[in-house]
Amino acid sequence: MSNEYLHIGKNFVPPDIYGKVTGKARYAEDYSVDGMVYARLFTSPMPHARVRNIDASAALAMDGVLGILTADDVPAVEAPNAAILTNEPVYVGDPILAVAAVDEKTAENALKKIKVDLEPLPFVVDPLASLKPNGPSARTEGNVYPSEMQNLQWSAEDLNRFQQGEEPTGAAPTEWSYGDLEAGFDNAAVVIEESFVTTGYAHMSMEPRSVLSYWRGNKCYVHGSTQSQSFVVPFLAGMLGIEQGDLVYISEYCGGGFGSKISAYPVLGLPGYFAKKLNRPVMLRITREEEYYIGSARVGFQGWMKAGFAEDGRVTAVDLYIVQDLGPRRTGGDASSAGGAISILYQPQAMRLRDVPVFTNTTPRGAQRGPGQNQIAAIFEPMLDKAARELNLDRLAIRRINAPDSSATLNADQGPVTSAYMDDALALGGELFKWSERVQRSGQRRGSKVTGVAVGQGYHSAGASGFDGLVRITPDGKLHLHSGVGNLGTYSYASTTRAAAELLKCSWDNCVVHHGNSSLHLPWSSYQAGSNTMFTHTRANHVAAMDLLTKMKDIAAQTLGGDAADYDIADERVFKASDNTRSMSYAEVAAKAIELGGAYSGESYPEDIHEVTQRAVTGIAGSGLVGVAKDKLPKRGTAPGLAVAFCEIELDLETGKHQIIDYLAVGECGTIVHPQGLAGQLRGGAVWGFGMASLERHVYDPQNGLPANVGYYQTKPPTYLDVPSHMGWAAVDKADPDSPVGARGIGEPAMGCATAAVMCALSEALDGHLFNRTPVTPDMIINHISDGPQAASLMAINTF
């Protein structure tokens, strides 16, 4: 991985590491301000209800209780958007009101004295129960959400077919397709048809989304926990009904979000309203259990898929039908993303996606690492193996023959990609994992244990454009890297800024990264989700650094004579290429920029930068040489994040338990920017993927809508003994032409490939049996081996 770069491809110590390892890092909950009071939530005990009356008199009469905040105190929102508080709770745990007191215990005790009279409304925890004739609707406004509220019920026959796993006939409100599906199946040598279920499960952020808010005049200060930083500002300001400039948003650390803390989630606005009402700073600590209610979960799938394969293994056609378990709120891109993932990973000649997005009274759903892509990876990849077995093809070979390259197309519009080298990843992984050797022992039994060797693939679009970069050199010679990127745990807030340091040939010791607090003059940023940050913000940092470099050369030319084009940089000096004695240090250039003013020092700025960036530039104007720009670099298509995983498992047929003996992930994400960060993504994603494949639990009692999963031990994320002690990683490390440093993102496919690999390995160990369901748990394996019926009916969801 050695290269000509100064920073790119090199490890570094991200500045937040010190705080994390010493415990000095301050999360939202760690802040305290004078006069701060504590709020606690009263959440719905019913899965769907209407508030008839709230009697808080007994609570308000208690010593130390300061007040309550109800849905009437916060802006109403249109269904199915999420309100801060609601009078029509739509899931168990939906916040109805908050109470504040001088300390948390008093607030907690006050909750018990508040009488909320609730009228139960019809509820549903399985989408299929809502689609049956006269089935209940999870929301009074409708039961499906293709992009607007609608009511949809299938006939009993449609439902019955679907529940039996047969080709669906029920109406699907959303559909896209390309190519000639019929011809695709006609040309297929093998057609695989399977129904499937993937359970949605909690995001499980380690840091519950606690929030502190207070007001100073018109300014509202919010300490929160979000994956993104600048991206949150307009949404949170809008939620609070204030100007963006009146919001100070601080989220220096985020103890995990995983898609559930991308932007301003409802409860982030609650203490702001409460603080205003009480005229006191308000801290709202969220408990672990509450985090399971309001902290979101993955969208669940109940689906059916038919895939055709030519003699050589090429995918000829895919017909995909998905009923989405949306929970009770607006969401639902997972099905289309699942279709998109199939369209790129296997390049089918024809494809159709039909989607039935159904509300349920379960925890709100949201994007979770690889939303859609990873669910479908868990299902399609074992189907691909089944096709390979039927065609007598090697399972790695069938992937290679379908692997996307830079001419790949994807999605309904069959748009292009920036680049793709999936075959390289498969080949590299196959070689490092010794595939051809190890695959020989797949299916072999020793005692009660069977070996499964498998390969899985993952995909997510991994890069956006059009965001802003902001860099600055101050008269002390420091390069200030202003990062609007949130600190979601990937270090991308810092690693992306290294693209600017790289361009400016500045030593990392002389760089200062500003992040995590909107008052630190942070530029507009994409959200930190969707694997996009690495691509998006290396570009944004690059263009800002380019702007700074241009200005630096201008200043040098103005000061030292000649033309800007005559100047070059090295060792933190700008010098005339033809005469390097004529040079200025960065410090001197910065001082000169202040003197010159205008665009040089940020007194003026390009018109096309975002409002957030404009305020950031204004804030630092006059303090040094400022580089600021919007990313308008060319981007010829979707930047794909691709990953391949290889694993070997041992499945014990007597206990249903499996052990992952070895694991290797290969990233195909362009140039490696931060090796340790990439390794962390590939391994961390794998752990999560293992969880999705066989552990993570999402159980609802259909009789009363209660969730069983309200604590870590109940939700069962993998522990350190559930993952292999060594997990290998590698990367193709081929530059993407549309990234100035060649990088694309990797976060989500890092998980999807692991889920797929384990699902395939389990199938391998069981003579190719497909469970077509995530997670595959020991009880399912034991039931299968003992020829017993599975406990959950074929298409039931939220049963584990």
């Binding site: 005990p45 019913m46 609730l118 139960p120 009363n704």
Partner: protein, 254 residues
């Protein structure tokens, strides 16, 4: 003291849990007090000469009725003890004995009701207007059953029918050799069942205690004997009953 206890249902709403078992002690105390008061009154009152058990024996209860009575009595006592002892802290495997005894009682009551309504002198247990004069007219004698006996029987009937009815509903909610429990009764309905079952149990505790007390009283003991061996003497009959209203047969043996 609460009459009933409440709990929260699955959604946190208040629903009935059952009767407050503190009342068990109240009922026992009241019953004991009533017995003491009765004992005192009876001690103060002059003792009436007791009719002789000798002489001709007249049939008061035939074999069937006596068998039913004792089956009902034993099953009721078993039900009371198996139901109440765990509540007051004696742990044992009570439920199976309880529901078996409950089925026995149900069967006995059912047969008794059928027999009494269709095959016996049902009117003998009906409280007629003239019965109400009994306590006020000295010398007025009842037919086969005194007003007090009818009152005791009817109170017992009511309580037993309620306890059986609710007991059967609760029985349907548990595992038996014949079915796996559905466990599907609405929580509020379940609460009502437990309250009624509990209230009738409390009533039965008191009534049973009183019934046993009276059965053991010297002047009533011949009735207890008649429930064991079936007969009363002619003397006992004429001292306590109006031949115009009840004329028993002579027993086969004397």
């Amino acid at each position: 003291m609460e009459i009933v206890t409440v709990r929260e249902d699955v959604w946190g709403r208040e629903v009935l849990l059952g009767v407050s078992w503190d009342w068990l002690w109240v009922i026992l105390a009241l019953t004991f007090a009533a017995i003491v008061v009765h004992l005192l009154i009876m001690a103060v009152l002059r003792k009436q000469p007791r009719p002789s058990a000798a002489g001709k024996r007249l049939t008061r209860h035939d074999n069937f009725d006596r068998s039913f009575h004792w089956i009902m009595a034993i099953s009721t006592l078993v039900l009371l003890f198996t139901g109440v002892l765990p509540i007051i802290g004696y742990d044992f495997n009570w439920l199976t004995i309880h529901w078996i005894a409950g089925l026995v009682l149900t069967g006995a009551v059912l047969l008794h009701v059928i027999r009494a309504v269709f095959f016996q002198d049902f009117g003998s247990m009906v409280v007629a207007p003239k019965d109400l004069k009994e306590p006020f007219e000295k010398g007025r004698k009842p037919g086969k059953y005194s007003l007090a006996q009818k009152g005791m029987h009817h109170a017992m009937t009511l309580l037993v029918l309620v306890v059986i009815g609710t007991g059967l509903v609760l029985f349907l909610q548990i595992d038996t050799p014949w079915w796996d429990r559905p466990n599907s009764l609405a929580e509020s309905t379940l609460g009502w069942m437990f309250v009624l079952h509990g209230v009738s149990t409390l009533g039965l505790v008191g009534l049973t205690a009183l019934h046993v007390y009276f059965a053991l009283r010297p002047e009533k003991r011949f009735y207890t004997r008649s429930m064991i061996s079936g007969w009363i003497s002619e003397d006992e009959f004429s001292a306590n009953h109006d031949p115009a209203r009840w004329m028993p047969d002579e027993t086969a043996r004397s």
